[in-house]
Symmetry: C2
Subunit: 328 residues, 2 copies
C-alpha cells in the first residue's frame, strides 16, 4: 500500500512517520511506498529510507495536489495547515492553504477517480476550533460548528467538503477533530494555543515560559502520542461503522491551566512552577476563551479512539517520548 | 440607499422586488438605486423603472462579482443558486455557482472594503438542506449541519464564510435558512422539492400533478409571501441583536404531504385531489427523506421572523397572490 502524509514535517506528521518506522505493521497493512510532503523538507527515519520519497511543495500552488495524487496513494493523511494565529492575521494565506489547498487535494482525487477508478482513504486533521462560544457544559457530538476564528472556519468547511466527497463515493474520508495537542515538543510555533505546552515543556528543562491567560482557563487536551494514535486508528478502522457523519470529535482531557500547573508541581516541584511567568496577552486570551472547554466525545470513543485521562499522564508521556524518561 | 438583488429573476427575487414596488418604504429606508442581477434578464416593475438597473450575468464568471460590488450597494440580497436537484447531478456547476460564486462575491466586498471603507449588509438565502438525517423530532437552533446533498453542503459552507466575513468586520451578514417555499408559482423547476408545490398548484387550476413520494413524508414549509417577509425583515433588523451566530433557521410549518392534500380537499374539493397522480420516484424520495421535517426555530422567532401555521393559510395566500383570490 502507498501511504501519503501531507504535512509530514509538522509535529504530528513526524511522530506519525516515526511510529510507522518503529512498527511497520502499525496500520494493519504493509507500507510498500511512503510519500512525505510538506512545505519544508520532511525527515525520513532510517528504517523507512527504502520506501520513502520526500516532496517539498506548497499545497496551495496550482498543480501541486495533482502531483501528489498522480502516484495514487491508498491512504492519505492530510495534516497540512496554516496554524490558528497565523490564519487569523493573514486572511488570504489561511484560506489559500487551509481551504483551497484541501479542496484542490480533494478535486485532484476526484479527477483521478474519473480518469480511472480510485478510492483512497483520506484522514483529515480537523480541530476543536470548529466550535465557538457560547457552549454547553459538555459539547456533544451533534453540536453545531460556529467557529470564531478563520482557522476554525477553514477546518469546518473542509469537514463539510470531506463529508460530501465521501458521500459522492469519491474517497473514503474521516475527519479527526484534534484536541489541543499538549505537550508539543520542540520550539513554540505561531499557534495561539502554544502556551498550553510551553508552560510545561520549558519548566521541565529548567527554562522560563510565559503564561498569557488566567489559570482559570479550561481547555481540551490530548498528548502527541494520543494524536498519533487517532490517525493510526483512523487508518485501521472499518469506515462502514462511521456512516455519513464523517467528522469525529476525538476524546481528550478537559483541564484548567491551573490543573496543568499542579500536575507540573507534582512531577517537577515548586522550582519548575516558579519558571512560569504571568504576562497577560488580551489578544491570545480573546482567541483562547472562544474555544471549547469540554466534550462528550461519545461517537469517537465508541469507535475505539482513546486519549489520556489526567495531566500527570500527559506529562509522563512527554518525559518518556521526548526526555528519555527523565527531567532535570 | 443602493439595493442589489442577486437572483432577481428567481421566484423569491421577483416577489421581493414586487414587494418593494408595492411599498417603496418596505425596507425602512429609501431605495434610490436598485440593481437587479441574474443569469437571465430580471423583470422590472413599472414603479421601479426610474431607479432600477438590470444586469444579466453569471456569478461564477471571473470578474462578475466585482462588477456588482463596484457600485457599492448598501444592502445585498444574495438569492442566486443552482437548485438542489441540478447541483446533485452537476457537481462542478453546483460548486462553481453556489460555493465559488458566493465566495467571489464576499471577496469582492472585502477588496472594495480594503480599497475604501465599505460595510454593506449581505442577506444570504440559505436552506434547511444544510441539515441531514438522522434528526431529533424537532431540530433546535444548535443542531449540527451534516448535509446529505452537495447543494446543502454548498449552503452550509457559504454560511460559514458569511459568519467569518461578518466576524472580521468585512460586511454585516445574515443567513436566512429558508423552509421549502410552497406553493411556488409558475412552472416546475429542477428542485427535488418541486412536487410539494406541484400537487397543490396544478390541481388548483384543474391540471394533473405527480406525487413522487409517500403521503407520510413530513416536511417544513413557508409561503412565498413569508419568504419575502424574511428577507424584508432581515433588511430592517438591528443586527446587533443577532450576535456572531449569523445563520438563522427561519420559522415554518411542519406538515405531512397527506396534510397538504387534506387542505387542498377542504379548499378545492375531491375533484382537485383526484388530479394528483402517484408515481413513486426513488431518486426524489431518497433526497427528500434525507431532509429535515420539523424545527424549533426559536432564535429567528424571537428576532421577529414569522411564517404560516397551517396549510389552509398557505393555500389561501397562493389564491390571493397568484390567482386573484379565486380558483376554478
Amino acid at each position: 500500500m502507498h501511504v501519503l502524509v501531507i504535512g509530514a514535517a509538522g509535529m504530528v506528521g513526524r511522530k506519525l512517520v516515526e511510529q510507522l518506522a518503529a512498527d511497520q505493521a502499525v496500520f494493519g497493512f504493509e507500507v510498500s511506498r511512503l510519500t512525505l510532503a510538506d512545505a519544508i523538507e520532511s525527515p525520513v527515519p532510517p528504517a523507512l529510507q527504502d520506501v520513502a520519497t520526500v516532496l517539498t511543495m506548497d499545497l496551495a500552488e496550482p498543480g501541486e495536489p495533482e502531483k501528489l495524487i498522480a502516484g495514487r496513494p491508498d491512504v492519505i493523511f492530510h495534516l497540512a495547515a496554516i496554524v490558528s494565529g497565523e490564519a487569523e492575521v493573514d486572511f488570504d494565506k489561511g484560506y489559500a492553504v487551509n481551504l483551497d489547498g484541501s479542496r484542490a487535494l480533494f478535486e485532484a482525487i476526484r479527477h483521478e477517480n474519473m480518469r480511472e477508478p480510485y478510492f483512497p482513504r483520506v484522514i483529515f486533521a480537523s480541530s476543536i476550533a470548529v466550535f465557538g462560544q457560547p457552549f454547553p457544559e459538555k459539547i456533544g457530538d451533534e453540536f453545531f460548528t460556529t467557529p470564531l476564528t478563520s482557522y476554525g472556519t477553514q477546518k469546518a468547511i473542509t469537514e463539510l467538503l470531506l463529508a460530501d466527497y465521501t458521500r459522492k463515493g469519491i474517497f473514503d474520508g474521516i475527519g479527526i477533530r484534534l484536541p489541543t495537542v499538549c505537550i508539543r515538543p520542540g520550539k513554540p510555533n505561531k499557534a495561539a494555543s502554544g502556551f498550553f505546552s510551553n508552560i510545561l515543556r520549558e519548566p521541565l528543562v529548567g527554562q522560563e515560559a510565559v503564561l498569557p491567560v488566567d489559570e482559570s482557563v479550561r481547555h481540551w487536551f490530548a498528548s502527541p502520542r494520543a494524536a498519533v494514535g487517532f490517525f493510526v486508528h483512523a487508518a485501521r478502522l472499518d469506515t462502514a461503522r462511521i456512516g455519513p457523519r464523517r467528522n469525529l470529535t476525538m476524546p481528550g482531557l478537559s483541564a484548567l491551566v491551573g490543573e496543568e500547573i499542579e500536575a507540573l508541581r507534582r512531577v517537577a516541584g515548586d522550582k519548575a512552577v516558579s519558571l512560569i511567568r504571568r504576562e497577560p496577552d488580551p489578544a491570545i486570551e480573546k482567541i483562547v476563551t472562544g474555544w471549547a472547554t469540554d466534550f462528550d466525545a461519545r461517537r469517537a470513543t465508541e469507535l475505539g479512539f482513546r486519549a489520556e485521562t489526567s495531566f500527570d499522564d500527559i506529562i509522563r508521556i512527554h518525559l518518556e517520548d521526548e526526555l528519555e524518561g527523565k527531567h532535570p
